[in-house]
């Protein structure tokens, strides 16, 4: 169910024809991110709150030190214990509410109906939470369980973590050349809202 809802929030090719060629929440395994997070205290071992460091070596060779999650201090453990139990409650209530509004099973109704339910006032706080976690699952480092195959970053032309390689001085200072923005209606609307000259 969470997979169906997050796929409406950030659709992929299978969810919206406008997204052909563009992986979405499903492809990036946003539910993997959410499951990893919500079960951080029930998996045993170090809770997956802070990925390790100083780097992943994904663009170089060597061990992925981000995959070794960091031991947490007792105050952090208290904070995250509270946060996760709160979110678990919100997910239980939120999922039940979405299913109820869909007449029993959110996954069985049409995409248009799913969108309408998600946009409804009665689920707005759960929508914000799901949206927040969808964004995190798409664009956080993959060690947290989402952004599978760097699908989230690739779709937005973002290379992600760059250590220990970094960038050359020329890459920092140069112009990458002309690259006009694709002025889709939503982009035009946003630019106007933001103060287009």
């Amino acid at each position: 169910m969470v997979e169906a809802a997050t796929a409406r929030i950030a659709p992929g090719p299978a969810d919206d024809p406008a997204e052909a060629g563009h992986p979405g929440a499903r492809e990036a395994d946003v539910t993997g991110y959410i499951d990893t997070m919500l079960s951080m205290f029930s998996q045993g071992g170090t809770p997956k709150i802070f990925a390790g460091g100083p780097w992943s070596n994904r663009h170089t060779s060597g061990p992925d030190m981000m995959a070794m999650f960091l031991t947490i201090d007792p105050v952090t453990k208290i904070a995250w214990g509270k946060r996760i139990s709160g979110w678990q409650r919100q997910y239980r209530t939120g999922v039940a509410s979405l299913d109820k509004q869909a007449g029993g099973d959110f996954t069985k109704v049409s995409a248009a109906r799913q969108d309408k339910i998600l946009a409804g006032v009665s689920v707005s706080s759960f929508l914000s939470l799901l949206f927040e976690h969808t964004i995190e699952g798409l664009y956080s480092n993959p060690e947290y369980g989402g952004n599978r195959g760097l699908a989230g970053w690739t779709d937005i032309s973002y290379p992600g973590d760059s250590q220990p390689r970094g960038y050359s001085d020329d890459e920092v200072s140069r112009s990458d050349g002309p690259d006009p923005v694709d002025k889709t209606p939503i982009v035009t609307g946003a630019l106007k809202f933001l103060g287009a000259v």
């Binding site: 990925a51 946009a119 890459e171 000259v197």
Partner: protein, 565 residues
């Protein structure tokens, strides 16, 4: 020999530990937060688990504090109830303090910042005052800090106006590093307006320095800890302190009280969390130096029931009035994810005689207005970008504020890859009713009252932001941006201050009737309690404060270390 306790391991505390240990004091440094570094005592490079990780640093409070366990509260003024409980202008609480997350900007305050009252005159409603020393007196300490922690920059490129107000006699120890494309683009706009941008002085290595690596332009700079520790800052004086063998560093331990007997401190009480709950203890000392950062030092002074002869303890809180400028480039991606964040600055707006500023002030009933340093360039990372679009979509597409439109915005990247920021760090005047007090109801994880912040922009700050919003927008247009926006930073946070520049509350001054600490930061009315952080500031200036925090701490702690124990 005698024993000193230093509270906090950041910009000020590290300097206190270095100076006192060099003079033979045994020193215990208490740090509330954890330690994310290895090899602190050296020699050789520091190790760290800070990393290029947006989620860890910007979402999950890795540098702390977590607002669920250590919140603050905020209200705009004393007539209004608390409007927000959570993260209010939190600095990192970790070994190294604010110098872990900073992007290491080290501009200097101007001469007129130290003598605001005598040089510029009074401002209605504000508690204007001069510092107990001039720029000329602090300048050698600036030189020494820039040499100590390793600053980059090109003095020959610093404009005459800046050198007139903050003269230098020495070159910076390292040349400037690569200039960001986004910074250069906005700087071109600044030049086209007749302003004078130049490479932002930064304490980040462009050469091997202090046994540490050179910055490799990874791009995860402001808000992140440096994974290669190319901007070690407070870790350098901390290392010098530890290498004397007379200093012990105690992380994850919060000082809850400075214990007073009459006018003397006898030591501190502390608390730390363990897996089975809090543990408390105490430590005796002959001297206590407070450097927990502006807000937390005041909170501790209040918890310790310090004397308050002037009635100003916890007052005159200054947080800077930020202006958030956004330039969006429609024909080019500015890739601010590469390089040190924000490599150009312009200081013209610090001048009360900026063209048109004095006339605008007078027309609105004020003698003058000042803006602050403008940070040219930089951007944000994808998680923050995504969050910004959720807000936009709620306005633009209320019937379906998600879906392909969200992903189209992410791909267009108008608020990340096409964005070049322009923040102005606006002068924030000292007001007696901008305060840090103990919140009457909200407690931290240890059951202690949290800091309640009372602060908002007053007429001076509002007028200054209004005047400079037009300047910034014009500059961004001249830079070729296709969309420009400039709003007060608090507009983006429902009024809550978020700038991470904390000054005032324990104001320095010669006269105990009008200041909280004396001309060298000793608390008036107490024999052996000193303050060595941003809380001693008398005015805010319009510059990143860390260089000044460290330089003033160096001046004051060297004076203290020269006193008979």
């Amino acid at each position: 020999m005698s024993k000193a306790i230093v509270i906090g391991s950041g910009a000020g505390g590290s300097i206190a530990a270095m100076e006192l240990s060099a003079a033979g004091w045994d020193v215990v440094v208490f740090e509330k937060g954890p330690n994310h570094f290895t090899n602190l005592a050296g020699p050789g490079p520091f190790g760290t688990v800070f990393s290029n990780d947006d989620l860890k640093l910007n979402v999950r409070y890795f540098a702390g504090p977590d607002p669920l366990t250590c919140p603050r509260t905020w209200r705009p003024n004393a007539q209004t109830a608390v409007q927000y409980t959570g993260a209010v202008d939190e600095l990192p609480q970790v070994v190294g303090g604010g110098t872990t997350h900073w992007d290491a900007k080290v501009p200097r305050l101007w001469d007129i910042d130290f003598q605001s009252l005598s040089a510029l005159g009074p401002q209605p409603g504000a508690d204007m005052a001069d510092w107990p020393f001039t720029y000329a007196e602090i300048a050698p300490y600036y030189d020494e800090i820039e040499e100590l922690i390793g600053a980059q920059g090109d003095v020959s490129a610093i404009p005459d106006l800046v050198l007139k107000h903050a003269p230098r006699t020495k070159a910076l120890p390292m040349p400037p590093g690569a200039q960001q494309r986004s910074s250069l683009a906005v700087a071109a706009g600044a030049k086209a307006m007749g302003m004078h941008p130049y490479p932002y002085p930064m304490a980040a290595n462009t050469q091997p320095y202090n046994d540490q690596q050179v910055c490799n332009n990874c791009g995860f700079c402001s808000g992140y800890g440096c994974p290669v520790v190319a901007r070690p800052a407070a870790l350098i004086p901390l290392r010098q302190a530890l290498r004397t063998g007379r200093v012990s560093l105690v992380p994850q331990t919060m000082v809850t009280k400075v214990r007073l007997t009459g006018t003397r401190a006898t030591g501190v009480s502390w608390i730390k969390m363990t897996g089975s709950g809090p543990v408390t203890g105490s430590e005796d000392a002959d001297l206590v130096v407070m450097a927990a950062s502006g807000i937390e030092t005041v909170r501790l002074a209040l918890l310790s029931q310090f004397p308050d002869q002037s009635g100003k303890l916890g007052r005159r809180l200054m947080l800077h009035a930020f202006l958030d400028g956004t330039a969006i480039f429609l024909d080019e991606r500015m890739h601010a994810y590469r390089g040190r964040s924000i490599t150009q600055c312009v200081e013209d707006a610090c001048d009360p005689d900026f063209p048109g500023a004095r006339a605008f002030a007078k027309k609105n009933g004020l003698p003058y207005i000042r803006g602050g340093i403008m940070e040219l360039g930089g951007s944000q990372d994808p998680i923050e970008e995504g969050q910004a679009y959720t807000t936009l979509l709620a306005f633009l597409r209320p019937t379906r504020p998600f879906g392909t439109e969200f992903k189209q915005l992410m791909r267009s990247s108008i608020l990340r890859d096409r964005l070049a920021g322009c923040s102005l760090i606006g002068d924030d005047l000292p007001y007696l009713d901008h305060t840090v007090t103990l919140d009457p109801t909200v407690k931290d994880v240890f059951g202690l009252p949290v800091a309640q912040i009372t602060w908002n922009e007053q007429k001076y700050e509002q007028l200054s932001l209004q005047f400079y919003a037009n300047v910034v927008k014009e500059m961004m247009r001249k830079a070729g941006a296709g969309a420009v926006l400039a709003v007060p930073g608090t507009d983006n946070a429902g009024g809550v201050p978020t700038g991470n520049h904390i000054m005032g509350g324990m104001m320095m001054g010669a006269d105990p009737a009008t200041s909280v600490t004396d001309s060298h930061g000793r608390v008036h009315g107490l024999d052996n309690v000193w303050v060595a952080d941003g809380s001693v500031f008398v005015t805010s200036g319009g510059h990143n404060p860390t260089n000044t925090i460290m330089s003033v701490a160096l001046r004051n702690m060297r004076y203290l270390a020269g006193q008979p124990a």
